[in-house]
């Protein structure tokens, strides 16, 4: 195999794309800490900063899947620590139900994950991102929800 062929093949090799909605006050700060602490996590993650995890609605999640995400992660403050006192309690109910609904229509639950990461948990941020990337990689590309146009 020539060098060009090999590099072409490498380019075409599939890499999972994961959209992570991170709350501004905890999970995004956790990501910052992971960065400043030089903790590596995969480049497959695309972080979208949201004011609160309860800002994320199911339409955003589905839109991410439609436009090419292979996995979606919603990360917020631990219950009890929400900057707006109760946002993540609503997230917990909403996303629990939505996750089960996706599962019901045949979407593997590993593709849509929810987690709590505080601002001091840089290590957990890196670890979660690694875990989610590997789980989605094992599932392969998202073909079920993707906009095929």
């Amino acid at each position: 195999m020539s060098v060009t062929e090999k590099s072409l093949q490498e380019k075409q090799a599939w890499e999972p794309l994961i959209v992570a909605f991170c709350c501004n006050w905890c999970s995004y700060a956790g990501g910052d800490l992971a960065g400043t602490s030089r903790m590596p996590y995969p480049a497959n993650i695309r972080v979208i900063r949201v004011p609160c995890s309860s800002r994320v609605n199911p339409m955003m999640v589905l839109r991410a899947f439609q436009r090419g995400a292979d996995g979606v992660l919603v990360a917020g403050c631990h219950p009890g620590d929400c900057h707006y006192t109760s946002g993540n309690y609503y997230t917990r109910r909403r996303m629990s139900v939505f996750r089960r609904l996706l599962e019901y229509t045949g979407i593997e639950p590993e593709r849509f994950q929810v987690t709590w990461i505080s601002g001091s948990e840089g290590a957990k941020f890196a670890q979660v991102m690694n875990r989610v990337t590997e789980e989605v990689r094992a599932l392969g590309p998202n073909r079920k929800l993707r906009d095929a146009r």
Binding site: L62, R94, R99, G106, K144, R149
Partner: protein
């Protein structure tokens, strides 16, 4: 005592003469024997068109949203499932209790046109279908046929939990005894136990056929937003292309937007021209909310907070919280 058309007409006349309401919502016959359309009656001479037969399945409460913009008080007939819809609108603060005059009609279930046609087998000559006790009497050109009503009900009526209206101003007939019904989560559990691939094929097969006519939304008493997210142009959440991914988006979001508010009346599935089993989506959400956050029966109490509008500190989650 069963409610009769005469009783309906009598009470409607009384309402109009006594100026108890500006408008009466009822049903009238359409062109065919299986059609009973909503009737909007404002004048006494229109009263004759009122009907009450096994096809008066349309839920009239959804029309209140439009009518109450111009009218102060509207009277309407409510069956058991319609009464839940009234509570739905009250809970969503779409209407006020004083704006409506409710005439309750206990209902033993509505007839399914297709099932009757299949049994009688002579579609063109059916003239009328009446209910008499536990029988449907089918009038055809070749005489009468008596059918056991329980075999010819709409599917949604087979799992009816509220045959008697739970909110009304006046009940037009005696309350009927509750009857044994089909367990409503049966098909949901069956689907839950199949594999991911099977479920995906099942649902994508159904979603693929969707025409995006939005009948399911328009008929739904829980879909009462002034501007639906599906109609919005900016941001345009739902694209116009009729492709699987947009259809999936449409149906998952429709079901999710009524989660915890769906009264499980089954109208969405009944009006679907493509026979998409929408109630199985709604019921999955009802079942999950009950399992995770405690039993809740939407439409029974307009004061109780809805499961997705409240929380507890020790709620369980369907994802790992560690």
């Amino acid at each position: 005592m069963k409610p009769t058309v005469d009783k309906l007409k009598e009470i409607a006349a009384e309402t109009l003469v006594g100026k108890k309401a500006e408008l009466i919502l009822g049903w009238q016959k359409g062109s065919f024997w299986w059609q009973s359309f909503p009737a909007f009656i404002e004048k006494q001479e229109e009263l004759d068109s009122l009907t009450w037969d096994p096809f008066c399945v349309a839920n009239l409460s959804i029309y209140l949203l439009e009518e109450l913009k111009r009218k102060k008080k509207v009277a309407l007939f409510v069956k058991g499932c319609d009464a839940l819809a009234i509570n739905r609108l009250l809970q969503d603060k779409c209407i006020e209790r004083e704006q409506v005059l409710l005439y309750g009609l206990p209902c033993k279930g509505m007839a399914d046109r297709a099932k009757i046609e299949a049994a009688v087998g002579e579609e063109l000559s059916i003239r009328e279908v009446r209910r008499d006790g536990d029988e449907f009497i089918v009038l055809t050109d070749n005489g009468e046929q008596h059918l056991d009503a329980s075999n010819y009900l709409l599917d949604k009526c087979l799992s009816c939990r509220y045959p008697n209206p739970i909110v009304y101003d006046q009940l037009l007939a005696q309350e009927i005894d509750t009857f044994p019904v089909k367990e409503r989560f049966q098909s949901v559990v069956k689907l839950e136990n199949s594999t991911f691939e099977e479920r995906y094929l099942y649902w994508s097969g159904h979603f693929n056929r969707c025409l995006r006519c939005f009948a399911c939304r328009n008929v739904c008493p829980a879909c009462n937003c002034r501007e639906c997210i599906f109609d919005q142009n900016e941001p345009r959440w739902l694209g116009k292309a009729n492709i699987l991914s947009e259809n999936q988006f449409c149906h998952l979001i429709r079901a999710y937007h009524v989660a915890g508010r769906c009264i499980d009346c089954g109208e969405c599935q009944r009006v679907c021209p493509m026979d998409i089993p929408l109630q199985e989506l709604n019921r999955k959400l009802i079942k999950d909310l009950n399992e995770l956050y405690g039993d809740y029966d939407a439409g029974t109490d307009p004061e109780e907070p809805q499961p997705l509008g409240t929380f507890k500190l020790d709620d369980p989650a369907s994802f790992s919280e560690s």
